[in-house]
Amino acid sequence: MTRVTIPVGPQHPLLKEPLSVRLTAEGERVLEAAMRLGYVHRGIERLVQERTYVQNLHLLERVCGICSHVHTTTYCQGVEALLELDVPPRGLALRTLMCELERIHSHLLWLGVLAENIGFSTIFMYSWRDREMALDIMEGLSGGRIAHAVNTIGGVRVDLDRGEMYAARRLLNELEKHVHDLLDVVEHESTLKVRTQGVGGASLEQVRRHCAVGPLARAAGLDRDLRRDAPYAAYDRLSFEVVTETGGDVWAATRVRVLEVFESLSLCRQILDDLPSGEIATRAPRRVPEGEVVSRAEAPRGEVVYYLRSDGSDKPARIKIRTPTLPALSLVREQLRDINIADVPAVISGIDLCIACADR
């Protein structure tokens, strides 16, 4: 049979951001997938060297348009470690609260994208409606829906008062009811199962070989979550379960993400119920002493790594950013092998792409 090359992207309805995937197919069977990145490469790793540590907060928040808060969290953690700053407990708790709200919003956004790409628009509408509640809480706290500017070196910039806490709790309770409905659909709706079960399965071995992280790795049975394994911010004071599944197919990844929303809702409540009193930030000096640091955090898509080196000035000498989408793109090349062309949208959506993150 003749082999054909099918380009998906850089501009394609399936992709929300530019990425070029070239599929080699024989009939309906995909044999191979090659990838080209860099369409939204902004040179952020170079730009940060020209800016002060405070200016970089605003730049690094824009590495990703979905998990913006976790980038500043990882960055601040690194700078605070070099400065040997103690962040007040209330600041850490509020930072963690935003991390978990962001996870809820990211997972619900992803569920909508997956549903739309497999032609199940109802769930797309419902999950994006529900996601608004998480965005409303974040907007109430910070004034921003997507770019929150909550983190600062030494703590956070915004505090919660009693009224805002009450409003947040009310929205969380309402959201939980809606997410139960979404879980019900994921577990029982045949339309979704037929399009995702057994599709794009990744083995534990493949996940290890490609160094995949986050829900994608946990869907294949890799029990790793930095919130538990290397607790940062306020996670050492909170209790939660790390959700894992087996099979590594799109359905397993869907279950992991929806079940993680429940864990995040519980984490948000734990933080609101036991919010420490006191200051929200410590004052940080402009210059950072010489040294290097590796800071890790669990973003909605998995491990984010920042390597940061200071030469003693007010600008970093080097910041290296590794976002979770990069190893996911490496793994998806194997997941796309030997599948039907009609399953390509489900598999590509299944990894929860963030191209701007991967390109930086």
């Binding site: 860099g38 070989r209 790793r224 290397a230 590796v294 890790r296």
Partner: protein, 148 residues
Amino acid sequence: MEIETLLATLGEACPDYAFEARTIPVDETVIEIPAACLEDVVNVLRTTFSAYHLSTITGQDRGTELELLYHFWHERGITLRVALPREGARVRTLTETIPGADFYEREVGEMLGVTFEGHPGPEHLLLPEDWESEPPLRKAQQAEEGDP
């Protein structure tokens, strides 16, 4: 994983080199290794200590030399530091044993001008295919084209 045990096992794998570890925040162990030992050290990490996860590879220009940092993770962070000369920087690829290293190595290669020997597809990852200038993260480049 005990760092003393790791250093002892690495000493057996590469007997000509004395391995030393230091700790940087946040709880990351840094071990300096010669470029020639990289493959052996990574094999020991993977087979004896189950450290499968390569988080990323950081490349940076330290003025007199180029520095590669291989950030591994298994119960804790372990970073392998490899120093390379600025001219003709070459190091053996890890992509055969860790396919996930493919993208990381291509990025370091194009940004710093490091050649990864034996890499199956060393084309550009983020930069355009027709990029002909100096690697953008080299120091000389930054001095010439620094932001006003």
